[in-house]
């Protein structure tokens, strides 16, 4: 299942990366004569209410959605590993305080918080970084900033057990500094489960971005992402169902593939697995 998913994901990735060079229809070419058409040879995935080509819009949107997914994962894992490593290495008060903050963030309802941050900071960030760049940075930052907790708890648990292991003790006895112990000995051994969490985080971040765009609080509506195309399409379900089905299916297939890959990685990397 994981291999099939890896193949499917590779196809989607190839399509969104190489797509614009093969399918050269611009994303914003308006053609009222061809509006709300179903799939045809000139428009393989049909057109929207302005007659814009859906295939090229979905290719472009896929680039954004997947880029947001990966970037947000990197942010989340970075903070998660940082917090988890600090908590795991220092015991006592620092550890307790960091874990309290982690638990606090875990109990915050994510989507309302995401929406609140975007609502409050949308305008100023837009002013600094431009419409599209601002939205990208803000969305990546808030999705990453609300998803680091599971990685932090995992890394901490790994650190707590690994730092008492003989090989770390040996390194300590040889006079390795704390930083060296962490970067050379503990972290590499803690990475397996972190990779699994990272994979699943990509899928969750893609869903989060699509949700934001679907609710109209993500990317501005003239920037097509899978979520915002779906948002535009939802009012035309009765006359142009293809418009909603294609972006939805793309989100679903991508997320499903990533989740299956994560599951496969979990099986492959689990040290306790029974052979």
């Amino acid at each position: 299942m994981a291999l099939v998913s890896a193949f499917a994901l590779a196809v989607i990735l190839f399509a969104v990366v190489a797509g614009p060079f093969i399918w050269r229809v611009p994303i914003n070419e308006i053609d009222f004569a061809a509006k709300l058409q179903g799939p045809s040879w000139t428009h393989p995935l049909g057109t929207d209410d302005l007659g814009q080509d859906l295939l090229s819009r979905l290719i472009y949107g896929g680039r954004i959605s997947i880029a947001v997914g990966f970037a947000a994962m990197v942010v989340a894992i970075f903070f998660g590993v940082l917090v988890g490593a600090i908590a795991g290495m220092s015991s006592g008060r620092v550890d307790a305080a960091l874990m309290w903050v982690t638990d606090l963030f875990l109990s915050l309802p994510q989507l309302p918080l995401l929406l609140l941050v975007i609502y409050l900071f949308r305008e100023p960030v837009k002013g600094v970084l431009g419409v599209e760049g601002g939205a990208f940075v803000l969305i990546v930052a808030v999705i990453g900033g609300t998803r680091w907790m599971s990685a932090a708890r995992l890394v901490r648990a790994q650190f707590l057990s690994l730092r008492e292991k003989e090989f770390v003790e040996a390194a300590r006895a040889l006079g390795a500094s704390r930083l060296r112990q962490v970067t050379q000995h503990i972290l590499p051994n803690a990475l397996g489960p972190v990779i699994v969490v990272a994979t699943i985080d990509v899928a969750a971040a893609i869903i989060a971005e699509s949700t934001l765009s679907f609710l109209g609080l993500g990317f501005p509506s003239d920037v097509p992402t899978w979520g915002s195309v779906l948002r535009d399409a939802k009012d035309y379900l009765d006359i142009a169902p293809h418009w909603a089905l294609f972006p939805g299916a793309l989100i679903f297939i991508t997320v499903l593939a990533i989740n299956f890959i994560g599951d496969g990685l979990r099986d492959a990397l689990d040290p306790r697995r029974v052979l």
């Binding site: 309290w100 309802p109 609140l116 409050l120 109209g216 939802k234 169902p241 679903f252 989740n259």
Partner: protein, 325 residues
């Protein structure tokens, strides 16, 4: 198994632990509000008809020049006293507005959780008693599909199939149904089916895997073997001995999933136009109605903390080892 009484001390301790979390949430929300650029008196500053002295007096009156901790303190006191501000768009108090919308959300969330549990427990237990069988694999695949399907897409597909193609169910939730008596309830049930299904299936899919792994952990324990060797039927071993123990961690998981349920509820309410706090949040955001936005966010955070508390207490009730630790 006799159910023991939870010690009062345990409940009080859990209640006390809740207070710092709520304070923490209020600090997070307030700092977001304080850090966010934009001044409520911006408009006055650019208005030439308002002299600078008046502006300064107004700022002093509303405490905008106070140090941050003092503003937080005033804000918190107002919050505790139920003074949540005034909605500029709806022209009513934020607390009244939220109280009007909250019951609908709670009903939808509650019904979908019941649906999720009703699906997840039988399927998860059956899958765990026959690990790696065909049923297990099919259930596992469906669970994966279930939680990979974004709720907004499931919602749209359900509308497409059941409202547009088959024309069985209404896709706009209406609060003002004219019918009375049985017809009234029937209409309400009919319009709730789709939102509840969307949320319930999503939650159920995630829960199935938890239930399965939890049952698998328990089924290998010695006491289960003992029960079997006493000659108790397999069905009775599973329902009386295994499931009872295996469901204890599931209780916590249901509570830990609450933040995700709220996210799902916001989306579902938006799709089906359910007049709950989720759609209130989105519409106030699009209308720049900050007091309502802050109020709804705080209420949903509080609800999550309260659900966690309920789960903790249930946990202590179900598992005597926890309460006296």
């Amino acid at each position: 198994m006799q159910v023991h009484r939870v010690s009062r001390q345990y409940v009080i301790r859990k209640l006390l632990i809740m207070i710092p979390s709520l304070l923490g949430i209020s600090v997070v929300l307030f700092s977001l509000l304080a850090l966010a650029p934009g001044d409520p008196f911006d408009e006055l500053a650019t208005n030439p008809a308002v002299p600078p002295e008046v502006r300064a007096a107004l700022r002093a009156k509303f405490g905008l020049d106070d140090p941050v901790w003092m503003r937080y303190w005033h804000w918190l006191i107002a919050l505790l006293q139920g003074d949540w501000g005034f909605s500029f768009v709806s022209r009513m108090d934020v607390s009244t507005l939220i109280m009007q919308r909250l019951p609908v959300t709670l009903i939808v969330i509650g019904a979908s959780q019941i649906l999720a549990i009703a699906i997840a427990i039988p399927v998860g237990v059956l899958a765990a008693t026959r690990p790696y069988s065909l049923f297990d694999q099919v259930a596992n695949t469906f669970a994966f599909i279930g939680f990979s399907l974004p709720t907004f897409f499931t919602g749209l597909v359900l509308i497409l199939v059941f409202s547009i193609q088959l024309d069985w169910l209404p896709f706009v939730y209406r609060a003002d149904i004219a019918a009375t008596g049985w017809a009234f309830y029937w209409e309400h049930i009919k319009q709730s089916i789709m939102p509840v299904t969307v949320l319930g299936l999503f939650q159920g899919a995630a829960l199935v895997r938890f239930v399965r792994s939890s049952v698998l952990d328990v089924i290998r324990l010695d006491y289960v073997t003992t029960a079997r060797s006493k000659g108790i039927g397999e069905r009775k071993v599973i329902t009386r001995h295994v499931v009872r123990t295996a469901l204890i961690p599931v209780v916590t998981l249901v509570a830990l999933q609450m933040p995700i349920v709220f996210s799902g509820a916001i989306v579902t309410e938006q799709i089906f136009r359910v007049p709950g706090i989720g759609s209130l949040l989105i519409s106030s955001m699009l209308a720049n109605d900050t007091p309502v936005v802050m109020g709804v966010t705080f209420v949903s955070a509080c609800l999550v903390v309260i659900f966690n508390l309920i789960a903790d207490i249930l946990y202590g009730w179900l598992d005597p080892r926890i309460a006296f630790r």
